[in-house]
Protein backbone atom coordinates (compact mmCIF):
# COMPACT_ATOMS: atom_id res chain seq x y z
CA UNK A 1 0.00 0.00 0.00
CA UNK A 2 1.72 3.13 -1.21
CA UNK A 3 1.07 6.86 -1.32
CA UNK A 4 1.20 7.77 -5.03
CA UNK A 5 1.39 11.51 -4.43
CA UNK A 6 4.80 12.79 -5.48
CA UNK A 7 5.78 16.43 -4.93
CA UNK A 8 4.70 17.59 -8.36
CA UNK A 9 1.84 15.29 -9.28
CA UNK A 10 -0.32 12.28 -8.49
CA UNK A 11 1.08 9.24 -10.27
CA UNK A 12 -1.03 6.69 -12.10
CA UNK A 13 0.70 3.34 -12.23
CA UNK A 14 -0.03 0.12 -14.06
CA UNK A 15 1.56 -3.27 -14.60
CA UNK A 16 4.31 -2.91 -17.19
CA UNK A 17 4.23 -6.58 -18.15
CA UNK A 18 7.82 -6.85 -17.01
CA UNK A 19 9.25 -8.57 -13.98
CA UNK A 20 12.56 -8.24 -12.17
CA UNK A 21 13.72 -11.12 -10.04
CA UNK A 22 10.27 -12.62 -10.49
CA UNK A 23 8.59 -9.58 -8.97
CA UNK A 24 6.28 -7.14 -10.70
CA UNK A 25 7.52 -3.93 -12.32
CA UNK A 26 5.10 -1.01 -12.43
CA UNK A 27 5.17 1.82 -14.93
CA UNK A 28 3.87 5.31 -14.38
CA UNK A 29 1.71 6.83 -17.06
CA UNK A 30 3.21 10.31 -17.25
CA UNK A 31 6.95 9.63 -17.38
CA UNK A 32 7.14 5.94 -18.26
CA UNK A 33 9.54 5.28 -15.38
CA UNK A 34 9.76 1.69 -14.13
CA UNK A 35 9.05 1.06 -10.45
CA UNK A 36 9.78 -2.04 -8.39
CA UNK A 37 6.65 -3.32 -6.69
CA UNK A 38 8.34 -4.56 -3.54
CA UNK A 39 10.88 -1.75 -3.12
CA UNK A 40 8.45 1.04 -4.07
CA UNK A 41 11.32 2.70 -5.87
CA UNK A 42 11.81 3.95 -9.44
CA UNK A 43 14.61 1.87 -10.94
CA UNK A 44 14.72 3.34 -14.45
CA UNK A 45 13.48 6.43 -16.26
CA UNK A 46 12.96 10.07 -15.45
CA UNK A 47 11.97 9.42 -11.84
CA UNK A 48 14.81 6.98 -11.09
CA UNK A 49 15.70 7.00 -7.41
CA UNK A 50 12.38 8.40 -6.21
CA UNK A 51 10.42 6.34 -3.72
CA UNK A 52 6.74 5.94 -2.89
CA UNK A 53 6.01 6.38 0.84
CA UNK A 54 4.35 3.35 2.44
CA UNK A 55 0.92 3.71 4.04
CA UNK A 56 0.13 1.61 7.12
CA UNK A 57 -2.16 -1.28 6.26
CA UNK A 58 -3.10 -4.62 7.79
CA UNK A 59 -3.64 -8.04 6.34
CA UNK A 60 -6.62 -9.78 7.92
CA UNK A 61 -9.83 -11.52 6.96
CA UNK A 62 -12.96 -9.73 5.81
CA UNK A 63 -15.11 -10.83 8.74
CA UNK A 64 -12.68 -9.39 11.29
CA UNK A 65 -12.05 -6.21 9.33
CA UNK A 66 -15.72 -5.29 8.95
CA UNK A 67 -16.43 -6.22 12.56
CA UNK A 68 -13.72 -3.80 13.78
CA UNK A 69 -14.52 -1.12 11.21
CA UNK A 70 -18.27 -1.26 10.45
CA UNK A 71 -18.09 1.90 8.31
CA UNK A 72 -15.64 0.30 5.90
CA UNK A 73 -16.04 0.19 2.15
CA UNK A 74 -14.70 -2.58 -0.05
CA UNK A 75 -13.44 -2.91 -3.58
CA UNK A 76 -15.77 -4.93 -5.84
CA UNK A 77 -13.85 -6.16 -8.85
CA UNK A 78 -14.48 -9.74 -10.01
CA UNK A 79 -12.33 -12.13 -7.91
CA UNK A 80 -9.73 -13.93 -10.01
CA UNK A 81 -8.90 -16.70 -7.56
CA UNK A 82 -10.19 -18.11 -4.30
CA UNK A 83 -6.79 -18.99 -2.86
CA UNK A 84 -6.51 -16.16 -0.33
CA UNK A 85 -8.69 -17.08 2.61
CA UNK A 86 -7.61 -17.63 6.20
CA UNK A 87 -6.98 -21.30 5.42
CA UNK A 88 -4.15 -20.44 3.05
CA UNK A 89 -1.67 -20.22 5.94
CA UNK A 90 -2.22 -23.86 6.86
CA UNK A 91 1.11 -25.60 6.47
CA UNK A 92 2.58 -22.49 4.84
CA UNK A 93 3.32 -20.24 7.82
CA UNK A 94 6.98 -20.02 6.82
CA UNK A 95 6.05 -18.57 3.44
CA UNK A 96 4.64 -15.38 4.93
CA UNK A 97 6.38 -12.62 6.82
CA UNK A 98 6.00 -9.06 7.89
CA UNK A 99 8.85 -6.71 7.11
CA UNK A 100 9.97 -3.25 8.10
CA UNK A 101 12.62 -1.06 6.55
CA UNK A 102 14.12 2.31 7.29
CA UNK A 103 16.77 4.26 5.43
CA UNK A 104 20.20 3.64 6.90
CA UNK A 105 19.12 0.53 8.82
CA UNK A 106 19.07 -3.14 7.91
CA UNK A 107 15.58 -4.30 7.06
CA UNK A 108 13.91 -6.46 9.69
CA UNK A 109 11.49 -9.31 9.09
CA UNK A 110 9.37 -11.51 11.32
CA UNK A 111 8.32 -14.77 9.72
CA UNK A 112 4.89 -16.13 10.64
CA UNK A 113 6.24 -19.60 11.51
CA UNK A 114 8.45 -17.94 14.14
CA UNK A 115 5.84 -15.48 15.43
CA UNK A 116 3.42 -18.35 16.04
CA UNK A 117 5.69 -19.35 18.96
CA UNK A 118 5.58 -15.88 20.46
CA UNK A 119 2.51 -13.98 19.27
CA UNK A 120 3.19 -10.92 21.43
CA UNK A 121 6.79 -9.89 20.96
CA UNK A 122 8.40 -6.90 22.68
CA UNK A 123 11.11 -5.97 20.24
CA UNK A 124 13.19 -3.04 19.12
CA UNK A 125 13.83 -1.74 15.61
CA UNK A 126 16.23 1.07 14.74
CA UNK A 127 16.58 1.85 18.42
CA UNK A 128 12.84 2.32 18.94
CA UNK A 129 10.82 -0.07 21.09
CA UNK A 130 8.04 -1.80 19.14
CA UNK A 131 5.63 -4.64 19.80
CA UNK A 132 4.88 -7.22 17.12
CA UNK A 133 1.39 -8.69 17.48
CA UNK A 134 0.49 -11.85 15.62
CA UNK A 135 -3.04 -13.17 15.49
CA UNK A 136 -2.98 -16.69 14.19
CA UNK A 137 -6.71 -17.11 13.46
CA UNK A 138 -6.77 -14.30 10.93
CA UNK A 139 -3.11 -14.34 9.96
CA UNK A 140 -2.64 -10.70 10.80
CA UNK A 141 0.64 -9.30 12.07
CA UNK A 142 0.83 -5.69 13.20
CA UNK A 143 3.63 -3.59 14.66
CA UNK A 144 2.96 -0.82 17.17
CA UNK A 145 5.11 1.67 19.03
CA UNK A 146 5.66 0.75 22.67
CA UNK A 147 6.30 4.36 23.68
CA UNK A 148 3.32 6.12 25.20
CA UNK A 149 3.46 9.39 27.15
CA UNK A 150 7.18 8.95 27.80
CA UNK A 151 6.68 5.44 29.15
CA UNK A 152 7.94 2.29 27.45
CA UNK A 153 5.24 -0.34 27.79
CA UNK A 154 5.82 -4.08 28.06
CA UNK A 155 3.12 -6.31 26.62
CA UNK A 156 1.82 -9.78 27.36
CA UNK A 157 -0.71 -12.03 25.61
CA UNK A 158 -4.36 -11.77 26.63
CA UNK A 159 -7.40 -13.68 25.39
CA UNK A 160 -8.93 -10.50 23.94
CA UNK A 161 -5.71 -9.26 22.38
CA UNK A 162 -2.75 -8.12 24.44
CA UNK A 163 -2.24 -6.34 27.72
CA UNK A 164 0.43 -4.01 29.07
CA UNK A 165 2.21 -4.80 32.34
CA UNK A 166 2.20 -1.17 33.49
CA UNK A 167 -1.55 -0.46 33.61
CA UNK A 168 -3.14 -3.82 32.76
CA UNK A 169 -5.18 -2.32 29.94
CA UNK A 170 -6.27 -4.66 27.15
CA UNK A 171 -5.43 -3.63 23.59
CA UNK A 172 -6.95 -4.68 20.29
CA UNK A 173 -4.47 -6.59 18.08
CA UNK A 174 -5.70 -5.11 14.81
CA UNK A 175 -6.17 -1.43 15.60
CA UNK A 176 -4.02 -0.92 18.71
CA UNK A 177 -6.91 0.71 20.58
CA UNK A 178 -7.24 0.01 24.31
CA UNK A 179 -10.59 -1.75 24.71
CA UNK A 180 -10.60 -1.86 28.52
CA UNK A 181 -8.60 -0.84 31.56
CA UNK A 182 -7.18 2.51 32.70
CA UNK A 183 -5.95 3.43 29.22
CA UNK A 184 -9.27 2.63 27.52
CA UNK A 185 -9.76 4.65 24.33
CA UNK A 186 -6.08 5.40 23.81
CA UNK A 187 -4.40 4.13 20.66
CA UNK A 188 -0.89 2.84 20.02
CA UNK A 189 0.80 4.31 16.94
CA UNK A 190 0.87 1.74 14.17
CA UNK A 191 4.16 1.37 12.27
CA UNK A 192 4.20 0.99 8.51
CA UNK A 193 4.96 -2.60 7.64
CA UNK A 194 5.03 -4.69 4.49
CA UNK A 195 3.28 -8.06 4.50
CA UNK A 196 5.01 -10.23 1.94
CA UNK A 197 5.88 -13.73 0.83
CA UNK A 198 9.22 -14.77 2.34
CA UNK A 199 10.91 -15.64 -0.94
CA UNK A 200 10.62 -12.34 -2.80
CA UNK A 201 11.39 -10.46 0.40
CA UNK A 202 14.62 -12.40 0.76
CA UNK A 203 15.55 -11.69 -2.88
CA UNK A 204 15.07 -7.95 -2.53
CA UNK A 205 16.39 -7.45 1.00
CA UNK A 206 19.31 -9.80 1.31
CA UNK A 207 20.70 -7.91 4.31
CA UNK A 208 17.52 -8.56 6.33
CA UNK A 209 17.77 -9.36 10.01
CA UNK A 210 15.28 -12.10 10.81
CA UNK A 211 13.85 -12.47 14.25
CA UNK A 212 14.02 -16.13 15.31
CA UNK A 213 12.34 -17.56 18.36
CA UNK A 214 14.89 -18.30 21.07
CA UNK A 215 15.46 -22.05 21.20
CA UNK A 216 18.91 -22.36 22.77
CA UNK A 217 19.26 -26.15 22.65
CA UNK A 218 18.38 -26.46 19.00
CA UNK A 219 20.59 -23.63 17.89
CA UNK A 220 23.61 -24.64 19.93
CA UNK A 221 23.54 -28.01 18.20
CA UNK A 222 23.29 -26.15 14.89
CA UNK A 223 26.37 -24.10 15.68
CA UNK A 224 28.27 -27.24 16.68
CA UNK A 225 27.33 -28.80 13.36
CA UNK A 226 28.40 -25.73 11.48
CA UNK A 227 31.96 -25.87 12.77
CA UNK A 228 32.25 -29.48 11.67
CA UNK A 229 32.06 -31.30 14.97
CA UNK A 230 29.50 -34.02 15.12
CA UNK A 231 26.99 -33.60 17.92
CA UNK A 232 27.54 -36.93 19.65
CA UNK A 233 31.23 -36.11 20.08
CA UNK A 234 30.46 -33.10 22.18
CA UNK A 235 29.17 -34.82 25.25
CA UNK A 236 30.27 -33.60 28.62
CA UNK A 237 32.22 -36.75 29.34
CA UNK A 238 34.04 -36.53 26.07
CA UNK A 239 35.13 -32.97 26.71
CA UNK A 240 36.32 -33.88 30.22
CA UNK A 241 38.33 -36.76 28.84
CA UNK A 242 39.97 -34.58 26.23
CA UNK A 243 40.64 -31.99 28.87
CA UNK A 244 42.34 -34.50 31.15
CA UNK A 245 44.48 -35.71 28.27
CA UNK A 246 45.37 -32.21 27.27
CA UNK A 247 46.67 -31.22 30.69
CA UNK A 248 48.45 -34.60 31.09
CA UNK A 249 47.13 -35.19 34.55
CA UNK A 250 49.34 -37.70 36.25
CA UNK A 251 47.71 -40.43 38.24
CA UNK A 252 49.27 -40.94 41.60
CA UNK A 253 50.94 -44.34 42.02
CA UNK A 254 50.23 -46.17 45.24
CA UNK A 255 52.41 -45.17 48.13
CA UNK A 256 53.16 -41.74 46.77
CA UNK A 257 51.88 -38.52 48.20
CA UNK A 258 50.39 -35.85 46.00
CA UNK A 259 53.16 -33.49 47.06
CA UNK A 260 55.69 -35.83 45.40
CA UNK A 261 54.24 -35.03 42.01
CA UNK A 262 55.65 -31.53 42.13
CA UNK A 263 59.28 -30.92 41.40
CA UNK A 264 61.10 -29.48 44.29
CA UNK A 265 63.56 -26.87 43.23
CA UNK A 266 66.15 -25.36 45.38
Amino acid sequence: MYDRQQQDQVLTLFGSGKTWQRSLILEDQSSGSLWSQLLGKAMQGKRQGQTLPIIASVLTDWKTWKEKNPLTSVMTLPPMTSFYDNECYQGRMGKFLIGMRKAGESPRAWRFDQLINQPILNDQYAGEPVVVVFWEATGSATVFDRQMEGETLLFEPHEMGFTDQQSGSVWDPLTGVAISGPRQGQQLAMRTTIPSFSEPWERFHNDTEYWIVDLPLFFSSQIVENVGIRCEQVSRGHIMERYRQSIKLKTIPAGQKPEDLFEKRR
Partner: protein, 122 residues
Protein backbone atom coordinates in the same frame (compact mmCIF):
# COMPACT_ATOMS: atom_id res chain seq x y z
CA UNK B 1 44.22 -20.97 22.13
CA UNK B 2 46.77 -23.67 21.47
CA UNK B 3 44.77 -26.07 23.58
CA UNK B 4 41.71 -25.38 21.46
CA UNK B 5 43.68 -25.96 18.27
CA UNK B 6 44.97 -29.22 19.63
CA UNK B 7 41.45 -30.27 20.54
CA UNK B 8 40.14 -29.48 17.07
CA UNK B 9 43.02 -31.33 15.45
CA UNK B 10 42.28 -34.48 17.47
CA UNK B 11 38.60 -34.75 16.55
CA UNK B 12 38.83 -33.36 13.04
CA UNK B 13 38.26 -35.85 10.23
CA UNK B 14 40.92 -33.96 8.22
CA UNK B 15 44.39 -34.68 9.59
CA UNK B 16 47.46 -32.58 9.08
CA UNK B 17 48.69 -29.13 9.91
CA UNK B 18 46.02 -26.44 10.22
CA UNK B 19 47.20 -24.77 6.99
CA UNK B 20 46.94 -28.04 5.04
CA UNK B 21 43.47 -28.67 6.46
CA UNK B 22 42.38 -25.21 5.43
CA UNK B 23 43.64 -25.79 1.89
CA UNK B 24 41.78 -29.11 1.66
CA UNK B 25 38.57 -27.66 2.99
CA UNK B 26 38.69 -24.48 0.95
CA UNK B 27 38.83 -26.37 -2.33
CA UNK B 28 36.28 -29.01 -1.32
CA UNK B 29 33.39 -27.02 -2.73
CA UNK B 30 34.80 -27.45 -6.24
CA UNK B 31 33.83 -31.11 -6.07
CA UNK B 32 30.14 -30.28 -5.62
CA UNK B 33 28.18 -30.62 -8.87
CA UNK B 34 27.48 -27.33 -10.59
CA UNK B 35 29.95 -25.38 -8.52
CA UNK B 36 33.21 -23.80 -9.45
CA UNK B 37 32.42 -23.12 -13.06
CA UNK B 38 29.33 -20.91 -13.18
CA UNK B 39 29.18 -17.22 -12.33
CA UNK B 40 27.09 -16.77 -9.16
CA UNK B 41 23.67 -15.28 -9.91
CA UNK B 42 23.28 -11.77 -8.62
CA UNK B 43 20.42 -11.32 -6.19
CA UNK B 44 18.98 -8.61 -4.04
CA UNK B 45 19.06 -4.89 -4.39
CA UNK B 46 22.73 -4.85 -5.35
CA UNK B 47 21.97 -6.72 -8.55
CA UNK B 48 21.71 -4.71 -11.74
CA UNK B 49 18.19 -3.79 -12.81
CA UNK B 50 17.34 -6.16 -15.64
CA UNK B 51 13.59 -6.31 -16.24
CA UNK B 52 12.27 -9.23 -18.26
CA UNK B 53 9.20 -8.89 -20.42
CA UNK B 54 6.84 -11.72 -19.51
CA UNK B 55 3.24 -10.67 -20.14
CA UNK B 56 1.13 -8.04 -21.88
CA UNK B 57 1.11 -4.48 -20.59
CA UNK B 58 -1.89 -3.84 -18.32
CA UNK B 59 -4.45 -1.10 -18.63
CA UNK B 60 -4.31 1.32 -15.68
CA UNK B 61 -7.14 0.85 -13.17
CA UNK B 62 -8.17 4.22 -11.78
CA UNK B 63 -10.79 4.40 -9.03
CA UNK B 64 -12.17 0.83 -9.07
CA UNK B 65 -15.78 0.04 -8.12
CA UNK B 66 -16.28 0.48 -4.37
CA UNK B 67 -19.23 -0.43 -2.16
CA UNK B 68 -19.98 0.20 1.47
CA UNK B 69 -19.93 -2.96 3.60
CA UNK B 70 -23.47 -2.30 4.86
CA UNK B 71 -24.79 -2.13 1.29
CA UNK B 72 -23.01 -5.27 0.16
CA UNK B 73 -25.70 -7.93 -0.18
CA UNK B 74 -24.11 -10.89 -1.92
CA UNK B 75 -20.85 -12.62 -1.10
CA UNK B 76 -19.98 -12.64 -4.78
CA UNK B 77 -17.09 -10.20 -4.36
CA UNK B 78 -15.76 -11.09 -0.92
CA UNK B 79 -16.49 -13.94 1.50
CA UNK B 80 -16.17 -13.75 5.27
CA UNK B 81 -12.99 -15.83 5.38
CA UNK B 82 -11.25 -14.07 2.48
CA UNK B 83 -8.06 -12.17 3.23
CA UNK B 84 -8.14 -8.44 2.69
CA UNK B 85 -5.65 -5.59 2.93
CA UNK B 86 -7.31 -3.05 5.19
CA UNK B 87 -6.38 0.60 5.35
CA UNK B 88 -7.63 3.28 7.74
CA UNK B 89 -6.90 6.94 7.01
CA UNK B 90 -8.45 9.96 8.75
CA UNK B 91 -11.68 8.14 9.57
CA UNK B 92 -12.03 6.43 6.19
CA UNK B 93 -11.77 2.66 6.04
CA UNK B 94 -11.38 0.47 2.99
CA UNK B 95 -10.64 -3.19 2.32
CA UNK B 96 -9.06 -4.66 -0.79
CA UNK B 97 -9.64 -8.43 -1.10
CA UNK B 98 -6.45 -10.26 -2.14
CA UNK B 99 -8.44 -12.54 -4.43
CA UNK B 100 -9.29 -9.47 -6.50
CA UNK B 101 -5.71 -8.18 -6.52
CA UNK B 102 -4.39 -11.11 -8.52
CA UNK B 103 -4.72 -12.14 -12.10
CA UNK B 104 -3.41 -10.67 -15.28
CA UNK B 105 -5.38 -7.43 -15.38
CA UNK B 106 -5.96 -6.12 -11.88
CA UNK B 107 -2.75 -6.35 -9.88
CA UNK B 108 -2.26 -2.60 -9.58
CA UNK B 109 -5.05 -0.34 -8.30
CA UNK B 110 -4.95 3.45 -8.30
CA UNK B 111 -7.50 4.74 -5.83
CA UNK B 112 -8.37 7.64 -3.54
CA UNK B 113 -9.24 7.21 0.12
CA UNK B 114 -10.70 10.53 1.16
CA UNK B 115 -8.30 12.99 -0.42
CA UNK B 116 -5.33 10.67 -0.24
CA UNK B 117 -4.23 9.07 -3.53
CA UNK B 118 -3.17 5.50 -2.82
CA UNK B 119 -1.69 2.63 -4.76
CA UNK B 120 -2.71 -0.90 -3.84
CA UNK B 121 -0.75 -3.87 -5.10
CA UNK B 122 -0.13 -7.41 -3.89
Amino acid sequence: MSRFRWYVSRISPFPGRPSVRLLLLSSAWLMLPGCGSSVPESTGTDGAFRPVHVKPVQQPIIEPPIERAVDLKSSEFVKDDDLVIGVALNGDYRAYPLNQLTGPKQEVINDYLGDQPILVTW
